[in-house]
């Protein structure tokens, strides 16, 4: 583990100890720093806290928030709540996946520029359908609008 990492890790560890320990918050902190839950980081904490890695992974795999694989630089999230669904969210999702050539179960492009995800509902149902790019919400979405935003992002790189 590199120097920079261990600094971040020690900070998370001290926060964990001061806040009377909760694996979910610990994992949330790890993901905040690393963008996902790297296996070696879990092992690092496991050793220091005397908690087996399986405990961490049992929690990490239960909640949709946690990712065990690295994600792309840009996160595109298509809301799949009921209101978005009946207003065509599926089509947005297939459009963006097609545009980025994502096949099967893949959700991240090989160059790790984009990750495409779906979320159950972000509660912006009155402006459905909705997608998010890097946490910014876009309402009353159309395939055109989504493709335009992706083109902007591609140019930016």
């Amino acid at each position: 583990m590199s120097e920079i990492h261990s600094e971040a890790l020690n900070e998370i560890l001290s926060r964990y100890i001061s806040q009377e320990g909760n694996i979910i918050s610990l994992l949330q902190d790890i993901q905040e720093s690393f963008g996902y839950i790297p296996e070696d980081v879990v092992k690092w904490f496991s050793k220091r806290l005397g908690i087996p890695p399986s405990r961490f992974f049992s929690v990490a795999t239960f909640y949709a928030q946690f990712h065990l694989k690295p994600r792309g630089k840009n996160i595109i999230t298509v809301c799949s709540g009921t209101a978005c669904y009946v207003k065509g969210a599926q089509r947005l999702l297939s459009t963006v996946r097609r545009e980025l050539n994502l096949l099967g179960e893949e959700d991240t492009t090989p160059d790790r520029i984009f990750t495409v995800e779906r979320v159950n509902c972000i509660g912006a149902c009155s402006i459905a359908p909705v997608f998010l790019i890097n946490k910014k919400v876009y309402g009353n979405a159309t395939s055109d609008k989504l493709l335009r935003e992706i083109k902007h992002l591609k140019k930016g790189d």
Binding site: I23, Y63, T82, C121, G123, A128
Partner: protein, 590 residues
């Protein structure tokens, strides 16, 4: 000009369509025009929470000397004209003012819980206090005993707004009587039902009403610590709650010796990590404890053994936000609103194929017709109403024949749906009911925690059968099989998720059996939704603009410029991209 107040809607919806940019534009223009300088503190521009009618965002109130004008669909580039013509020139810009519809939207509503959403600045505690906030807490602390507070909530028959409608006062009393020195309060803000966002709006638009409700509850039952469990999908709610809690602490409303009394209580935020089942109270408790959010069997109920084994009250956000109003105005006042068995109001999120999408608050007992046609303005594109889905994945679809049903906890249950947290998704003739049932089963199947067999395996089997039917491979016995399986899952699942998961299937079979039959026997999807049962073709109104040809990902469309195009059915993947781009309504489904 003595005073100017500009209020810009900045809930999640408002921000998404540019609320922040509009607010910044107002600040800039007012400064440029020298108005902010000349009026000083009498020139206010501030953010407000969601006022409900998000379909018209960005909504802006301009109040000049107490005269309020509301503008709709405002964009930053429109701000200069409002400042010049309205604020400086004194002439309202008529074409931008909200139309008659906007007022109809509010006419049949009674806004209690939402009364401050959209008028106060949610990030400023003084704004809440100036609007009468924390008066109920003072009343409770200085003129009522804890038992009197409890009695008032019980008498008001405040039923839980999160789903099942269990009386909050009974929960409080049970918790209070349970032995144990340490007691907890949890506000359930894990609003997981897709299509419901009332709790988000309360937490974003009026966070102190929730905090005040929790403090009053703590006083009544003798709790020392409270948790607000919020979904991490609601970043703005988290941010505003954090601010609100720390401001309340600074003012001595949280912490030790609240308002000088011998009463200690504090609140902490806990972020959910994306699991629908955590809306169930025992699963939510497991999640706060840092474990997998799996429910356990009850009893013991959380009121007896809750968080870390201590007696715990768990109430939904909207339920707790009602508390200050009941204490302030009395139980009799509360009982005078709504119906006998379900007093008070209910907040609904009205979405789907409806003109005025947004958040509404209505007295219990109002009819579905009033909600959909008077408040909601009717169906989008004046298409035909088919059903309204209430209660999210635990609820059902209610058909047109029940449009005059008065809405309360019991009436919705009687027609095979539930109130749930208050999501209402309106469906029209272009929605396939079998597909809607499939959508919800995909959801519950993915969200089933896997602890009990009926839910884990049963929901998967239900989904497989629905996939078979929508895929054109349904068998004649499938409808009966769905019904049998549904009844077994309902009867034997451990928690509310499994016990209600079959509701979307049962209610759609009950009211829309003909659609199931059409899929199975005629291999047709009457609403033309299910991919495997429809074909796309190009009709005579095609102008040969080549737009569809260019967008088709499968290369299935052929044709020359200015000549009729054609879809090769063998290549078509039925993605619908051609339909989206066609400006001449030439792409048709059969």
């Amino acid at each position: 000009m003595k005073s100017i107040i500009v209020k810009v809607c900045m809930g999640t919806g408002g921000i998404a369509v540019g609320g922040k940019e509009v607010l910044d534009a107002f600040r800039e223009e007012l400064a440029l025009a020298g108005i902010s300088a000349s009026l000083g503190e009498n020139c206010l521009t501030h953010r407000v929470g969601c006022r409900g009618l998000c379909a018209r965002d960005v909504l802006v109130d301009v109040v000049v000397d107490n005269e309020k004008v509301t503008y709709q669909y405002i964009k930053p580039q429109m701000v200069r004209r409002i400042v010049n013509e309205h604020i400086i020139g004194g002439n309202t810009i008529k074409e931008w003012v909200v139309d008659e519809d906007y007022h109809n939207f509010y006419r049949k509503q009674i806004r209690l819980v939402l009364s401050r959403c959209g008028s106060i600045d949610p990030e400023d505690i003084s704004s809440y206090i100036n609007a009468g906030g924390y008066e109920a807490l003072r009343k409770a602390l200085f003129s009522m005993t804890p038992d009197e507070v409890l009695e008032e909530i019980k008498r008001a028959n405040l039923r839980g707004r999160g789903g099942a409608g269990f009386p909050a006062g009974v929960k409080w009393e049970y918790t209070k009587k349970s032995p144990g020195k340490i007691k907890y309060i949890i506000a359930n803000g894990d609003e997981g039902d897709p299509g419901a966002f009332m709790d988000r709006s309360v937490m974003e638009g009026d966070p102190h009403s929730l905090i005040e409700g929790m403090i009053i509850c703590a006083y009544a039952i003798g709790a020392q610590m409270g948790f607000i469990y919020v979904r991490q999908e609601y970043p703005l709610a988290v941010e505003r709650l954090e601010k609100a809690v720390s401001q309340a602490r600074e003012r001595g409303l949280l912490g030790k010796g609240i308002l000088g009394k011998d009463f200690d209580f504090d609140i902490r935020l806990k972020l959910g990590a994306g699991a629908f089942v955590c809306g169930e109270e025992t699963a939510l408790i497991a999640s706060i404890e840092g474990k997998r959010g799996m429910p356990r069997s009850r009893p013991p109920f959380p009121a007896e053994r809750g968080l870390w084994g201590m007696p715990t009250v768990i109430n939904n956000v909207e339920t707790l936000a009602n508390v200050p109003y009941i204490i302030k105005n009395g139980a009799d006042w509360f009982l005078s609103i709504g119906t006998k068995s379900s007093p008070g109001t209910k907040v609904f999120s009205l979405t789907g194929k409806i003109k005025n999408t947004g958040l509404i608050e209505v007295p219990m007992g109002i009819t579905l017709r009033e909600i959909i046609y008077d408040i909601g303005g009717g169906i989008l594109g004046d298409r035909k109403f088919k059903a309204v889905q209430t209660g999210g994945p635990s609820g059902g679809c209610i058909p047109a024949e029940y449009l005059d049903l008065p809405v309360d906890f019991d009436s919705l249950t009687s027609v095979g749906s539930i109130m749930g947290s208050g999501g209402m998704v309106v469906l029209d003739e272009t929605d396939c009911m079998v597909n809607v049932a499939k959508f919800f089963l995909e959801f519950t199947q993915a969200e089933s925690c896997g602890k009990c067999v009926p839910c884990r395996i049963g929901t998967r089997r239900l989904l497989e059968i629905l996939e078979r039917i929508t895929g054109g491979k349904g068998k004649p016995e499938d409808i009966e099989l769905l019904e049998d399986l549904s009844h077994d899952i309902k009867a034997t699942s451990l928690c509310g998720l499994g016990q209600t998961a079959p509701n979307p299937v049962l209610s759609t079979i009950k009211y829309f059996r003909d659609e199931y039959e059409a899929h199975i026997y005629d291999l047709k999807c009457p609403s033309k939704v299910c991919k495997d049962l429809i074909t796309y073709f190009i009709g005579d109104s095609c102008t040969g603009c080549t737009a569809c040809l260019r967008v088709c990902p499968a290369g299935a469309i052929t044709g020359e410029k200015k000549k009729l195009h054609k879809i090769n059915q063998d290549l078509c993947i039925k993605c619908g991209a051609c339909l989206d781009v066609c400006k001449f309504n030439a792409v048709l489904k059969a």
